[in-house]
């Protein structure tokens, strides 16, 4: 049992345990926090795999962005303190069985499959390499997906603003018409 092995198993345990707790707890804020730990666990595994850039991106975007966003939305919908409603027991058992069956099938297929490793030399995955490749326009360049992603993010931003704006307008006009007599 070497060091990396122990670290790996600890990280795996953290990820999976937090994941299970996240989906089973009845308090919503705790679920968000367990999710946060699960994502940190995944980032840890990325570090263990020596993909530092991905790990950093994971922490910055997922943990620092998405989980924060989720926590904000929990506050916006005033759900932080109370316990959530229970789900029917039948549904829970049925889902557990289905999920277990799916997991067993997947693992069966994975263990039976022969994965062939390529014999070529590994390439460096430093930030410099990633940056060059990402903006590269050559054969293995990813400039096009990069641009498309930027447009997607723009569209998402505009979409969220529009949906959110409509929400604010209706709440404002509802208050407005009740106060004024003539609009």
């Amino acid at each position: 049992m070497t060091g990396p092995t122990i670290i790996f198993y600890l990280l795996a345990a953290l990820t999976l345990a937090s994941g299970i707790l996240s989906v089973t707890t009845r308090q919503i804020f705790r679920a968000a926090i367990y999710l946060l730990f699960s994502l940190i666990g995944v980032a840890g595994i990325y570090f263990w795999l020596e993909y530092q850039f991905i790990a950093a991106v994971q922490i910055v975007v997922y943990v620092g962005g998405i989980v924060v966003l989720i926590i904000f939305s929990i506050f916006l919908t005033q759900q932080a303190g109370e316990k959530m409603a229970r789900q029917k027991v039948g549904r829970k058992i049925f889902s557990a069985l289905a999920v277990f069956l799916g997991f067993a099938l997947t693992m069966l297929q994975v263990y039976e499959h022969q994965f062939f490793e390529t014999a070529e030399a590994p390439v460096s995955t430093s930030i410099r390499e990633i940056g060059t490749r990402m903006l590269g326009t050559g054969d293995e360049g990813y400039a096009l997906p990069f641009e498309v992603i930027s447009i997607l993010l723009l569209a998402a931003m505009i979409g969220c603003i529009v949906i959110a704006m409509r929400v604010k307008e209706t709440s404002k006009t509802e208050q407005g018409t009740s106060n004024k007599e003539v609009s």
Binding site: L16, I28, Y62, I70, S73, Q79, V110, F115, R133
Partner: protein
């Protein structure tokens, strides 16, 4: 035992199905979204693992993961906006109350 590809695949599959369980069972829309994030993460883990163990001479898996993270962020933002919109019209974010598509 030295952790290899199979271990990571085990973790990613487990995380995936944990997310699926959460998706089936949760009544709150926001916790539903959290389960979706777990699923996306498991996929990311899969891509990176294959890139590291099977194709170390290429970087496709890394880039896929980066882009998936970006898309997940955009999708989570839009989903939160929709949830807030739904909250304003239904006054609750219970999944059972959003039944407009019923027969």
């Amino acid at each position: 035992m030295e952790p290899g590809l199979y271990h990571i695949l085990f973790i990613s599959a487990a995380l995936f199905f944990i997310g699926v369980y959460g998706f089936f069972t949760r009544r709150n829309l926001i916790t539903l979204l959290m389960s979706i994030e777990l699923i996306l993460n498991s996929v990311n883990l899969n891509f990176v693992a294959f890139n590291k163990y099977l194709w170390p001479n290429r970087m496709d898996g890394v880039f896929f993961s980066v882009f998936i993270i970006a898309i997940a962020a955009a999708e989570a933002a839009v989903a939160i906006a929709i949830i807030i919109n739904l909250y304003c019209s239904h006054r609750s974010i219970d999944v059972e109350t959003a039944e407009e598509l019923k027969y």
